[in-house]
Symmetry: C2
């Protein structure tokens, strides 16, 4: 059972060879899920936007789902080339049903009968990822990273032993090795940690894919398409209690440069004002991440700061301005700071090891890095710092907390 990132003709060939090895190794019930070829989904999104930036979601989904259709057919053809009978399957052919939230649909059900039939016929089925159909047989898409989500969902539906994701990196690293010296592959990872890392900016996995794996306890193996070494990979799974106790305090450091901070001040305290403001922003589909609200006593001025994705800045500011106008908040001041980054440390061991937060503050302070905002949960600590210090902060946190690779 594998999800597959199908970047190029060479990559498709390499994956066909790997599947051939698996088949020869005795795996006969393999289902392959493919993403679009590298750059293809972006090309399709650009075409739709050129023609109509406000295209309806139904038409948008029909266009952007075509990339996976092509990949599924090409992957099946590549398997045929190495002597394996194979056929491509689209969502409607499998009854891969979703809700009708176009462009961010969620899978409801998968009819696995077609896949069993394919296996009966001695075929390896190749399924177009990212796409689904509504009960009305309209095409939906699952959002970015949707092919990985399709793969995990299918693995669950089929009761697979694990879901293998072949991609262009070796797995999940303790930090981005392009920026952090000593970053290394995390060979085993608990779902909870993987989920935090995905949501905090690690590019390898998407949240919904990991969420689904966690929900159904479906192990996810992330590996490089071109790797021959089966042990060089990250296996994401549910840790046993014992494994949890032995887990490192910090498993990984993530860095998200794509944030902006908005500070709003100049309004008085009033029931529902703040919740009204965030409701407005939420209605635009904009995710607010860290919120900091410092107010020492009832008489001090209101000032609230929050972070959003950089791309949402203009829309958020416009929204706040029109909200202020409606609410007659004439003194409202909005400041935007977008030269920031969020550095986070994630680890199961933070639950049992106290002092991670204070140690974090002290090592960053020693390096002269100012912390603008902080947010913590049981297994992570996130800090907003100046973007120019981001790499340095990540390196310091990695040096301080992440256990060096033994071998």
């Amino acid at each position: 059972m594998g999800g597959t990132s199908v970047g190029s003709v060479e990559r498709i060939g390499a994956i066909a060879e790997r599947i051939k090895d698996q088949v020869n190794g005795g795996f006969n019930k393999i289902a392959v899920v493919v993403s679009a070829m590298s750059g293809e989904t972006n090309r399709l999104v650009d075409l739709v936007r050129q023609i109509n930036p406000q295209a309806s979601a139904k038409n948008y989904d029909m266009a952007v789902s075509a990339g996976e259709q092509v990949s599924a057919a090409l992957m099946a053809a590549a398997l045929e080339r190495v002597g394996i009978k194979s056929r491509g399957f689209l969502a409607y052919q499998l009854g891969l049903k979703t809700d009708s939230l176009h462009s961010k649909a969620r899978i409801h059900s998968i009819d696995t009968a077609k896949i069993s039939d394919a296996w009966e016929e001695g075929l390896i089925p190749v399924i177009a990822g990212f796409q689904g159909v509504t009960d009305e047989m309209e095409i939906t898409t699952l959002g970015r990273g949707g092919s990985d989500t399709s793969a995990v969902a299918l693995a669950v539906a089929l009761g697979a032993g694990f879901c293998e994701i072949n991609t262009d990196v070796d797995g999940v690293f303790t930090a981005d090795p392009r920026y952090v010296e000593g970053a290394h592959l995390a060979e085993l990872m608990d779902f909870e940690v993987a989920l935090e890392m995905a949501s905090l900016g690690s590019k390898v996995l998407h949240c919904r894919c990991v969420e689904l794996g966690a929900k159904y306890n479906m192990p996810i193996v992330v590996r490089n398409t071109f790797t021959k070494n089966d042990h060089r990979r990250t296996k994401i799974m549910s840790f046993s209690e014992e494994q949890k106790l032995e887990a490192p305090v910090v498993s990984g450091i993530t860095l998200d440069r794509n944030i902006a901070r908005v500070a709003v001040s100049g309004f008085g305290y009033g029931s529902g004002i703040i919740s009204g403001m965030f409701e407005r922003i939420a209605k635009l589909g904009i995710n607010v991440d860290i919120i900091v609200h410092n107010r020492s006593n009832d008489d001090s001025p209101m000032r609230i700061g929050f972070t959003i994705a950089k791309i949402d800045t203009d829309q958020s500011v416009d929204c706040l301005k029109s909200w202020a106008k409606e609410m007659e908040l004439n003194d409202l001041a909005i400041e935007v700071e977008d030269k920031l980054a969020k550095v986070s440390a994630v680890g199961l061991g933070m639950q049992s090891h106290s002092g991670v937060a204070s140690r974090t503050f002290s090592v960053l302070a020693e390096a002269g890095i100012e912390i603008h905002m902080i947010s913590t949960s049981e297994i992570k600590i996130s800090m907003v710092v100046e973007e120019s210090y981001a790499d340095k902060a990540a390196q310091i946190l990695h040096d301080t907390f992440v256990v060096p690779k033994s071998n």
Copy 2:
């Protein structure tokens, strides 16, 4: 009701504007059929061939049908942009059923209920051309020119008044205006003539599309996407008896440079030898066009010549060689001549006007052009000439037979 060649983003926009004009002009039951964007199908075919030149037809069809899916979604989005509610439809969504001859499937049935539903909802449906599904819901394609065929088939199923094909030329010309001076648009054309011209190398229309129009008497209007003048077009229809009588002796001159002649000699007369040879070639799916078999008496040596598409030459020669070996025809000689072209004159009036053939021979002879092979039917005469004389021959025939445009 329109079939549409969707070459580029600009073209999609232009067609959306035209449909808007038609809707504003009172046409409310329009169904749009689209082809892939220019170059897209070739790109997909190349991808499949790179990965597996022997890909199964099912996987091939799944890959190459993706271009029309994208076009349908983009065209629907373009209509939305000009204020017209629209949605893309794929073959499986419409129940556009075909036989299971992948890559050259024929349409069996179209369920028009979905289109009626779309009209009820005030939507203009945009249908992906070129594709169909089998009863097992597997994707098929109709072969080159398939989108035009889809459009005519849908027009028939819907009982449309006509099928309009928006393309990159103004219509069907009396000859290719790039090579023949004085060539002009044929404004009206009988199905029979259009069919001959399509099969003889006129690039504008594909045979199956015209065949279908003829079979169901569905008028086909061919026009340029960017034309504003509604009278500048070719309307292909069933001529009345009176129209047939008034039709020009010759409606058009076509030129096909894509031919090769194979001459086979050195075998004796024997029952079934010649038919066996052509059966072998037919099994490869190669079309044999003109066959010339000159044999003055029982004792003269056998020599048979036939024309095929240039691309089929190598395969045909290999086939003949292995056939000769099996048949122990050790003296068999095969000659190939591929610097030839086929020039044809087509016209309903040839049925009632005798002397076209003899006049043809004399005007070509006067110009010193040798005729290598001849083939005639009730409404056409085809001659194989040296390729270097092809343009000249076409010009002479056009000057001799085609009525100059009156306006």
